[in-house]
């Protein structure tokens, strides 16, 4: 079980709730379970969501494991220059 925090706009799609307890071992499972619970999230995942695990931002490594007790935060996937 991990605790996931969603950024402001995404939490609006997830029942207005920023914090969610989810049983997920990696980013892929986390996204799948979030989408099952809140179908509105799916287009956001398609557009790109980054996952910060203990402050390190992962944009593409969906196989990244989510350690128990880690600080997990979802962010928009950004563009750079």
């Amino acid at each position: 079980m991990v605790e996931v925090t969603l950024w402001g706009s995404l939490s609006a799609v997830a029942g207005g709730k920023a914090r969610h307890e989810i049983e997920a071992k990696d980013i892929r499972e986390l996204f799948r379970k979030l989408a099952e619970q809140y179908p509105g999230i799916e287009p956001w995942i398609d557009r790109g969501i980054a996952v910060a695990i203990d402050g390190t931002i992962y944009r593409d490594t969906w196989s990244k494991e989510l350690p128990e007790g880690a600080e997990i935060f979802l962010l928009p996937r950004l563009a750079g220059g």
Binding site: T5, W7, G8, S9, A12, R47, A52, D54, G55, T56, I57, Y58, R59, D60, T61, K64, E71, F73, L74, L75, P76, L78, A79, G80, G81
Partner: protein, 754 residues
């Protein structure tokens, strides 16, 4: 992938040295080939017809006269680029931006294109294309566009991210929000509150090389594209999708690139050139003029930002809030969102809230520009922070140090920071001699902090060892500022050989696996990680070959300083085998030796910088000169320190231009007034002082060498640092960027008149 990207504090032999770049000689002799320097047999010249209107329905386009002109081989309109985007809204916007479909949405929007046997005929042909427009009311100002009376740019846009779906369409495409805590409570606890509104004007990346490409489509559906780009693999994807080509049959070669800064992350002319080539059956070269570059590529957002910050008497910030409105051109973007994320990222805040609004305007589609969106947010926040320090009677640096984020701080954009460099850059600035240097009359000093994310992403490299022991390294991230030198250093470091034996090149899309582009300060970060991984894979093979030569178990063979060494007393009489010796024997030990790597280089660090700047303002003319400038930034690990300094200096110089003179100026007719280097005033050599740099190295825990991206952060603090310096020099808070002489003089006059 069993590659371990974690930082290990090691001693370096090559990394950290400053050799000459491998592509240097070509660049000082004029041999390096950029976008416009390539030609193909039978090549035609492509030219684009652009809308003279800021907002107009395209009622009809008659190309028949142009088609009949001798020497014209193809004329295309949106009809020749049918919509294949299959509901992908972002791709549809790119398509529409390449060639307007129903409406021209800004002055300079492409509406048709020709390919002819020479430039003169192509120009004549453009004049023969008859476009019937129905001119619509337009809006170019970000605040006016956000107003509910503004002309609608797209009547299908209903603001996203609101609690209730709005009943009416508007130019605001999206609202986003970040933060934590309770700002109302925080402001109630504050002894001092500063509240200010700021504006920044739209700027362009201003790369010296205009967009250029040569496209060649064959009858069998194969195609070649030579182009200056920050990401040839991304260009391949986009062009293939927009033209219905198979990605693998479109070979994209990235030319040398004459600057990008985010502006060459986007296709504009390339799908048009490919469509022209497809129709004409001949290669087409398409080069933008400088006027086209300004009118129809690049620019960053114009912004309007409100900031409110409160602090206790002891200097603790209790709450911080910002509302940020960013223009995105006529298509939806996420620029305010990034501004909202970065605005307060330097600080440790209990209560913080930022809200971003994306606003459509009749200006070119906004593109990334070096740490996109962060400089404007930093300008607003760092100006307000300076003002608050003044109200508190605290030194500007001390106030920032007191409130700086550190490891374990919850970032204003959400997650908790690992080891970061904001505190160290501030301490370095506090003790920098620049801060103590005396100032003369009409001079002022300012400082400011800046934050930027770093990206990682998909990366792929090939490392091939020749029979003579020299190494060729093929990378897929475009070299925009010396990364081939840095990556060669990394390969040399890992293999334990001399830098001079490594030659790095940027491979085309058919020679290497997919790579994300060189953006988000990721080039050296991600490709160095892939290079380390590839080198380690090659070393594994080198060890195997040595083991085979010696006929001992591979576990007993170690790799040290470019040699295979048999470890253990029983091998005492085996002299080490050099990479060169192993390579020379490779034909007999199993064939060529290579290391490959395909990885996602995630785990990029975040990056901080603090800048100091002295200016002198002529109070009678409002003219500002930057007389001293210092950049302090965390590089994680500077692989090639000279090029790291170069990134620091270049970003600072761009920021100085933005702060003082650069801006898009639109007339009442919605047309761009200053589409050229004469009146879009980027800094010239005599405008700038030397730009001093100090590199800090706080290792990124997620890179074997501790590398962080360094490319973008340096443009974040200058707007604010210069605004603070000017405000200190003239005694009036400057709230509108650029602080051009007329704006400074007007602010001084307003102050004098009270």
């Amino acid at each position: 992938m069993n590659f371990d990207p974690r930082f290990s504090g090691r001693q370096f032999a090559s990394v950290g040295t400053r050799p000459i770049r491998p592509d240097g000689i070509d660049k000082v002799t004029g041999r390096a080939r950029y976008g416009a320097d390539f030609n193909m047999a039978g090549q035609l010249v492509g030219r684009v017809l652009r809308s003279p209107h800021a907002h107009a329905v395209i009622k009809s386009i008659d190309t028949s006269k142009a088609e009949k002109l001798a020497g014209v081989k193809a004329v295309i309109t949106a009809k020749d680029l049918p919509d294949l985007t299959d509901g992908d809204a972002a791709m549809y916007d790119i398509l529409d931006n390449c060639m307007a479909r129903k409406k021209a949405l800004y002055d300079g929007h492409a509406v048709a294109a020709v390919a002819a046997i020479d430039a003169r005929i192509a120009r004549q042909a453009l004049k023969l294309i008859e476009v019937e427009y129905e001119v619509l009311p337009h809006v170019t100002d970000v605040d006016e566009a956000a107003h509910h009376h503004a002309p609608l740019i797209n009547d299908q846009v209903f603001t996203e991210g609101l609690e209730e779906k709005p009943a009416k369409p508007s130019n605001v495409t999206k609202r986003t929000q970040f933060g934590h805590g309770d700002v109302h409570k925080g402001f109630a606890e504050a002894d001092f509150v500063v509240e200010r509104s700021f504006k920044t004007e739209q700027t362009h990346q201003g790369y010296i090389e205009p967009h250029a490409c040569v496209a060649s489509v064959n009858a069998d559906g194969t195609a070649d594209l030579w182009v200056c780009t920050q990401g040839h693999f991304v260009y391949r994807q986009h062009c293939a999708q927009l033209l219905g080509l198979e990605a693998s049959k479109l070979r994209v070669t990235s030319s040398e690139i004459g600057g990008g800064f985010g502006g060459k992350t986007h296709v504009w002319a390339e799908p048009v050139a490919l469509a022209l080539s497809r129709k004409a059956g001949r290669p087409v070269k398409l080069v933008m003029t400088r006027d086209e570059v300004f009118r129809a590529s690049g620019p960053t957002s114009a912004t309007s930002i409100d900031v409110k910050i409160g602090a206790k008497k002891d200097g603790t910030i209790t709450a911080a809030e910002a509302t940020l409105r960013y223009s995105s051109g006529p298509y939806a973007g996420s620029w305010a969102e990034i501004g909202a994320m970065t605005a307060f990222a330097c600080y440790k805040l209990e209560n913080v809230k930022t809200v971003g609004y994306e606003v459509l305007v009749n200006r070119p589609k906004t593109a990334a520009y070096r740490a996109p969106s962060a400089p404007m947010a930093a300008f607003a926040v760092e100006s307000a922070v300076d003002e608050l320090a003044k109200e508190l009677g605290m030194d500007a640096v001390d106030f920032r140090i007191k409130n700086a984020a550190q490891e374990g701080t919850r970032a204003s954009y959400g997650p908790v920071y690992g080891p970061i460099g904001i505190g160290p850059t501030l301490e370095a600035v506090k003790h920098h001699p620049h801060m103590k240097a005396p100032l003369k009359a009409n001079q002022g000093r300012g400082m400011a902090c800046g934050f930027w994310f770093n990206f990682g992403g998909q990366t792929c490299t090939d490392l091939n060892i020749g029979m003579d022991g020299s190494v060729s390294l093929a990378v897929g991230t475009v070299d925009v500022g010396g990364s081939r030198a840095s990556l060669s250093l990394v390969a040399a470091e890992e293999l334990g050989i001399d830098y001079s034996h490594v030659k790095a090149i940027v491979a085309d899309t058919s020679s290497l696996g997919y790579n994300d582009m060189t953006d988000g300060s990721r080039g050296t970060f991600s490709s160095s990680m892939a290079t380390i991984s590839a080198a380690r894979n090659a070393i594994k093979i080198l060890r195997e070959r040595a083991a085979q030569t010696w006929d001992i178990p591979v576990e007993d063979v170690h790799w040290e300083k470019g040699h295979a060494i048999a470890k253990g007393e029983k091998y005492g009489n085996l002299s080490p085998l050099s990479l060169k010796e192993i390579a020379a024997a490779s034909g007999k030990t199993g064939g060529p030796i290579a290391g490959h790597s395909e990885l996602v280089a995630d785990g990029a660090g975040v990056s901080f910088a603090t800048h100091i700047c002295d200016v002198e303002v002529d109070p009678e003319t409002g003219s500002t000169r930057v007389i001293r400038y210092t950049v302090v930034q965390d590089a994680g690990k500077a692989v090639h320190p000279t090029y790291v300094e170069g990134q620091y200096q270049g970003g600072a110089a761009q920021g100085i231009g933005w702060a003082l003179n650069e801006e898009y100026i639109y007339g009442k007719d919605g047309r761009l007034q200053n589409a050229g280097f004469l009146d879009y005033r980027i800094p010239v050599c005599s405008d700038l002082p030397m730009i001093d740099t100090q590199i800090l190295e706080i290792p990124n825990p997620n890179h074997p060498y501790g590398v962080r991206g360094v490319g973008e952060t340096s443009i974040v603090p200058p707007l604010a640092a210069i605004a603070n310096a000017v405000s200190n020099a003239v005694g009036v808070r400057m709230t509108h960027i650029p602080m051009s002489p007329p704006r400074i003089l007007a602010a001084l006059d307003a102050e004098r008149e009270g």
